[in-house]
Symmetry: C2
Subunit: 500 residues, 2 copies
């Protein structure tokens, strides 16, 4: 997929698009800075600048000029251009279909809603947040109608995060996955040989956690000449430009897992961005294809590499160089079991890999119901708690631990959550394909993770946005979305850990 | 100078101008990031983005729209608007007078010249840099002619950095200053009681230097909610926006003076920016008026506070909490003398406060000669060394230690150097005025530097760009530029240190 032979209009179009990428670089650096370094008093003016620059991007994405390029280049014989135009046209149409005034209202609403949500969560007061959420849902319904859909209104929202994935796709896999996970969790709960993570919760100085995290990023093949590691409150990875992909992490001195597995997770995202095909730099296809595929990469490294027993067989001695002395008394296998404890929790982002998809299914069902006007916002707290009890066997005692826990809705995002569960399933399915070429355990034992990284680079990362997620999955694994790979992985791993 | 009553055109103009400030925020954050955090591989794309955003600023500054505002608002009765228009018009005219193609050529030339200069300095090979410098001088001569001047061609260049200051101004003060400094240096050289700084050059861990530097910034009244301290190679302070003014410093573990006095110096710059009148936020007058006035503020804190004996009487115990143990054996007064050693050096940025202005005068005379076509680039190395010998009594053995030491010329900047010496003279003159209201030593002894900061806030910082530098100086000190204050300060301080 070389792009060396562009016509002059194609070159012009790419030059035009490059302006968007330039604004995006400024916006992303500002966002990174706000979340890692920026002093609080400067935030107000910074927000104005962000809004100004976003407006400039919006103008470029919806101009008559871009429409002309779309019309002229829709049938280009250059596959990079053809696919670029598809992506740009989709964006153009989605943006153009929303009346400017409505979109402005929505942006103002969500920026207020986010601070209301923050306070509501602190006070565990859903009623405070309810009127905002009602308006946000109403906007999402309107937008979905503007954008259109074939079968289910929620499809229009899913499409923004996971193009090609529909309610039909999800309803084909989630019920079975839910049943299978339920059985596994039952086995875990009934086990007489549960790990005891209390030993690993020793005070672990931040600087030492950072040093070990840096070591692991190096081993993963993260390129520090094209990135860096910083501290933040809510960890993320960000491609400021394609040669500057930064990782952030959070340090909890009482629980090193936060920083170490958080760094590996974000490092996985960063390897995707660093692995994009640089020949396509500044074109619309030089981008991750979806949230779900992105998540498949972060979870791949976090779970299949970082929480793998081989990993700790190989690197526990290295870890002990940074860990507090008390870790020396923990047998390696017990340490491994402890970092893989399965235990239903109220909070999604604290969930283990077995219960996590259930958190997502709850949100998916509620979102689908809201958008299809089958349930009402006012009933959410009770519905949430009922589902938690049904799926995970625990019932939150307050809304802060329940329906108010996630920021996503306050920011206006509906249709995003399913990508997290898709990422798990994609990841396990991709792992199975990778294992036909690469022995993960052997790579770790060789202290050389490059075969894993190189395989993912070649089969996933380099392809950027040339294909839709499910097409990419089919190309890489030979089949459509199949949740059995995830179930099989979890079964094999956890029956050993919990001896059932 | 409240700006609360703007007409609708005035408001429109301010909204227009705010766009420039928004772009500037993005550009400045990118520049800060490049000099503190950015990974090297991302620099190439970053430069393209910087150039793109700079082009946007250029368009806004030279548009027909801005010309319309200038014409409409030139006679505004609102003083803030009137002065803003003066500043914007000056910028407009200067930019418009240079043909676009010539300016592009100049930008390309200087961006090449800077890397050629880097290599030439490494190899101490002036001939390598000479052709570039010749072209840069030729461009500056052309620009000066485009911009115009009354008496001396060099005035047109000075005006870019120190509006209102001319060759006439400088020629009235520099010769006397040079003679006076010469006499002082002679006294120093003949002293039988010189300090011995070897004791203070002990290994001082970076983290400890940083902790002490942070303490000092706090004491100065630097607002950390509107700024932060980071590490860099060439220290600077930068106002990313008016509520986000960052300081950077450099750590030399063998010489703590680099970081501590560097931080105080940059902190002085930052206090100026943090002290601007926030009511005028986003207007053209909410800005430092000149390089010289800026430098007067950084030097004020660095020299009159940081290198003051009272400062170390008050804070030496605090310093010892961070310093290596060996410092405990250094008597306080000897420590004070050591940080104020006077010794002619080849390199300007390593110079002490007594010899520093002589470095500047050498550059001023050479620049003036070049721009007035009285000397030629090819003769610079010899002229430089002759002047060093004449002014400072030492002769560089190579051009890296001589004519090639500064980056400024390679970047195209002529007319900048005098601001450094002006900053010294302004600073000492402002100090004398401040001392009629504030007792600097007493403030330090009270461990409360706020009277100093508040006085500078009120008399200098809040005024922003409402007045030209020499008018501001007159308003604050009651007289025009007078180098005697600097000479008097140096005499009183150093005759005690050197016991002459």
């Amino acid at each position: 997929m070389s792009g060396s032979t562009y016509s002059s209009v194609e070159q012009e179009f790419l030059q035009y698009y490059k302006q968007i990428e330039s604004y995006a670089e400024a916006i992303k650096l500002m966002a990174w800075d706000l979340r890692t370094k920026a002093p609080k008093k400067g935030v107000h003016r910074r927000s104005e600048t962000l809004s100004f620059l976003s407006q400039k991007v919006h103008e470029l994405k919806t101009s008559d000029q871009v429409k002309t390029y779309i019309d002229e280049l829709r049938n280009s014989e250059n596959q990079v251009i053809k696919r670029s135009i598809e992506l740009v046209e989709k964006d153009y149409n989605k943006t153009k279909k929303i009346p400017v005034e409505e979109y402005k209202e929505f942006v103002e609403l969500t920026s207020q809603a986010e601070s209301v949500w923050t306070e509501a969560r602190e006070k565990s007061d859903f009623e405070m947040f309810r009127p905002y959420l009602e308006k946000i849902v109403a906007f999402n319904i309107k937008f979905a109608e503007y954008w259109g859909y074939k079968e289910n209104r929620y499809d229009a929202l899913l499409d923004g995060f996971e193009p090609g994935v529909t309610v039909k796709t999800l309803d084909q896999v989630f019920p079975k996955l839910r049943d299978d996970l339920g059985k596994l969790i039952k086995n875990v709960n009934e086990s007489n040989n549960k790990p005891d993570p209390s030993q690993i919760l020793a005070n672990f100085p931040k600087e030492k956690q950072e040093q070990f995290s840096l070591k692991v990023l190096h081993k993963m093949g993260y390129d520090f000449d094209a990135g860096r590691l910083d501290e933040t409150v809510h960890p993320f990875a960000i491609n400021i430009n394609h040669d500057d992909v930064r990782v952030t992490t959070r340090y909890d001195e009482q629980d090193f897992r936060m920083a170490v597995f958080g760094t590996i997770h974000e490092g996985g995202h960063a390897l995707y961005e660093q692995g994009l095909n640089k020949d396509l730099y500044d074109t619309p296809v030089c981008d991750a294809i979806s949230m779900g595929i992105h998540e498949s990469q972060s979870l791949f490294w976090e779970n299949f590499v970082g929480r793998n027993e081989s990993f700790w067989d190989q690197y526990y001695d290295l870890f002990l160089e940074y860990a507090p002395d008390s870790f020396k008394n923990i047998p390696k296998h017990e340490f491994y079991r402890s970092i893989n404890e399965v235990k239903p929790t109220f909070i999604r982002i604290e969930a283990d890999e077995m219960t996590y998809p259930l958190h997502i299914m709850i949100r998916y069902e509620l979102e689908k119901g809201l958008i299809n006007e089958e349930i009402e916002v006012k009933d959410l707290p009770k519905l949430w708690n009922d589902k938690m009890e049904e799926y995970l066997g625990i019932r939150p005692e307050n809304d802060a631990d329940g329906v108010l826990q996630d920021v996503h809705w306050s920011g206006g995002d509906f249709g995003y959550f399913p990508s997290y569960a898709l990422g798990y399933m994609y990841g396990a399915q991709i792992k199975s394909a990778l294992e036909q070429d690469v022995d993960i355990d052997q790579s770790i034992q060789n202290d050389d993770l490059s075969p894993i990284k190189n395989w993912l680079n070649e089969h996933i990362h380099r392809k950027g946005s040339m294909k839709e997620p499910l097409d990419l999955l089919k190309e890489v694994t030979g089949e459509g979305l199949n949740p059995n790979y995830l179930v099989q992985y979890l079964t094999e791993k956890y029956q050993k850990i919990y001896n059932w």
